[in-house]
């Protein structure tokens, strides 16, 4: 009875805390300016099913894709087990699904065990890739101590959770064989079978191990749930809405700024009266100038570095790293959100995404080649943020590099980016 009360209290508190933090992230995302992504729901569902659920973009790196698939499928399926644990916890039952599912229960527990082992092994390999093999993709200027620790904490937690799950099953199995109290014969234990010899033989000791692991496992999961909003691991949730709201246009199509269209129309046609402008600024200086989708992407990023590893600028030693663009955006919007929590919605500080976080040198190194957007397994587009920031630098500050200002002048005066007279445009047809 006391155990039940404690369980219900812990469960309620963690779900409450988690919802509160998720609501805060949602609020932060909605600080971004509006963009319409409500069109074509059928294609959006399809994109989400393919990219997030089906992990279609992961396969470009087959080994990582396979390991990730084990962890992903393990996570999704083992959640059925978590449901059983929660019900058992609330109602003081034991393996409540065994009665409902009969023979199927053995198959279920058996497959959970196999998956748990695969998750465990995958996470060990992932840890080794990061800390022993030190894959280049996991380093870089933005990969400071926190992002590195974050990745390790996630992997170690998953290893511990899976180990607890398997140890719990091993003890349970042994208790079943002893016909001890309520430990009914249920489940199949293809993996934990091998752990059984390592456990004590006395029923009381086994029960302590079983209960200890049960509590460790479920409290671990609830703690992990509450770690998510502070971690890159939040991608397990946001990957779904983020792919749903994907840009469905060809990657080369950049948005035309409506506010500019009105001004240009008014310039070309004096009789045109533009609707009252609502934009106070062209382009993005800070995170609140970006769209909510840009901000959602920042929270979705799991720092895998596929974008940076294919970025032509980054590969040739330039400062630009698309992953850093996303991480900086997330860190800044989190900072702004925390500021609003403390000082109210008119919060202002002397920082901005531009210059405080992202330098101009990074912005101007981009070739707009879309390799980053193509590489992202969850359809994040760092290029959009880079372009919005360039727009601010050029249109609000007139701070484009001098050579680009020359190019603008040429386009404006001669209709070509080079200093040639438009009258000579057809000269190519006269030569040879």
């Amino acid at each position: 009875m006391i155990a039940q009360v404690i369980f219900i209290l812990v469960l309620t508190a963690s779900v409450y805390l988690f919802s509160k933090n998720v609501a805060k992230i949602r609020r932060n995302i909605l600080l971004g300016r509006d963009t319409d992504r409500s069109d074509n729901p059928a294609l959006r569902w399809k994109t989400m099913a393919k990219v997030a659920l089906g992990q279609s973009k992961m396969v470009k790196r087959p080994f990582a894709a396979l390991l990730h698939l084990f962890v992903y499928v393990g996570f999704v399926i083992i959640n059925i087990e978590v449901l059983e644990i929660v019900i058992d916890g609330i109602f003081a039952s034991h393996r409540v699904f065994s009665g409902l599912l009969g023979g199927l229960y053995g198959l279920l527990i058996g497959s959970f065990e196999v998956l748990a082992l695969l998750v465990l092994v995958s996470c060990v390999i992932f840890l080794a890739r990061r800390n022993i093999a030190r894959l280049k993709r996991f380093s870089g200027v933005e990969m400071t101590s926190w992002p590195k620790s974050d990745a390790n904490y996630i992997l170690i937690t998953e290893i511990l959770l899976m180990a607890a799950f398997l140890t719990m099953n091993a003890a349970d199995h042994k208790l079943q064989l002893l016909n001890f109290e309520h430990y009914i014969h249920a489940g199949a234990f293809p993996v934990s079978n091998f752990l059984a010899p390592l456990l004590p033989d006395s029923a009381t000791a086994l029960e302590m191990v079983e209960r200890g692991c049960w509590w460790f496992h479920i409290i671990g999961i609830l703690a992990f749930l509450n770690y998510l909003p502070y971690s890159k691991h939040f991608h397990i949730i946001l990957a779904f809405p983020n792919t749903y709201y994907s840009n469905l246009n060809p990657k080369g199509k950049f948005e035309n700024m409506a506010s500019v269209t009105n001004e240009v129309k008014a310039m070309l046609d004096p009789s045109f009266t533009p609707p009252p402008a609502e934009v106070s600024r062209f382009g993005a200086k800070d995170v609140t100038d970006l769209t909510w989708k840009n901000l959602m992407e920042a929270y979705t990023c799991t720092e895998c570095g596929r974008c940076t590893s294919v970025c032509p600028a980054n590969q040739t030693g330039k400062l630009l790293s698309p992953r850093k663009i996303m991480m900086d955006t997330r860190d800044r919007i989190t900072e702004v959100g925390n500021g609003i929590d403390k000082q109210g919605k008119d919060f202002k500080d002397d920082k901005a995404l531009l210059d405080t976080y992202i330098s101009r040198e990074e912005l101007w190194a981009c070739t707009s080649c879309n390799a980053c957007a193509e590489a992202c397994p969850v359809n994040i587009n760092p290029l959009e943020i880079i372009m919005e920031m360039r727009q601010y630098v050029v249109m609000e500050e007139s701070q484009a590099p001098a050579s680009l200002n020359n190019m603008f002048g040429n386009v404006e005066n001669n209709g070509a980016p080079w200093k040639y007279s438009n009258a000579d445009r057809l000269n190519w047809a006269k030569t040879e």
Partner: protein, 281 residues
Amino acid sequence: MEDTTIVTESKSDIGHPTSEILHVPTMAEMVAAGKEPEILFWVGCAGSFDERAQKITRDICKILQHVGMSYAVLGTEESCTGDPAKRSGNEFLFQMQAMTNIELLNAYNIKKIVTGCPHCFNTIKNEYPGLGGSYDVIHHTQLIQQLIDDGKLKAEGGESFKGKKITYHDPCYLGRANGVYEAPRKALEVLDTELVEMKRCKSNGLCCGAGGGQMFKEPEKGTKDINVERIGDAIEVNAQVVAAACPFCMTMLSDGVKHFEKEKEMQVLDIAEITARANGL
């Protein structure tokens, strides 16, 4: 890079006599004669002014003339699409250019456009419709592929590329930006050459380094130039010809070849040039 790098060619490169005299009709002439061309050839700034790209422009015209397709260019009425301005953050200038061009194109009642440049292709195809300019836009490699598919264009009567190792460099604004990966490759397949792929190709293709306004500025500080990195990929597969489909890539790749002093072993040719040569145009 004040002006674009002009690649001077050796005589042997041009060694094909023009079989027909090139006549390039302009839209203004067409309209004056009461005619409407089947397709507008949007030449682009590089194709108009860059000496190396001008040759590709002429080859596109030769191909059009060879297959008897009625076409016209805008000539001195053409102006920059605004792409370099937009990618560099100058949305005002982009939209000024776009709206002026759209006004002209609509006045001429243009329906179908072929471009000689993936940047023009992308901009007119994707970004003009929202500003009132909707056209059926294709890139010249797509036109070549269609002509081959329709049996109107073959690879005969000209230079043989048989057995030559050719690799194709995907321009970002054709490939990733618009998903056009196969048309340029099909145009090369008819040549009976040995088509080899670089390790980074198609959706994984590496940029030449010129996009996003980089063509018009010095690169940021780094350890290497992007075009040098890219030509490294072509050298790795021992390509004799690097096939390009974009005038900016042409400049960058040619400079990359020069960097390695491989001008004798490796040629950078546009798909239009290869097609024209293979047909003796």
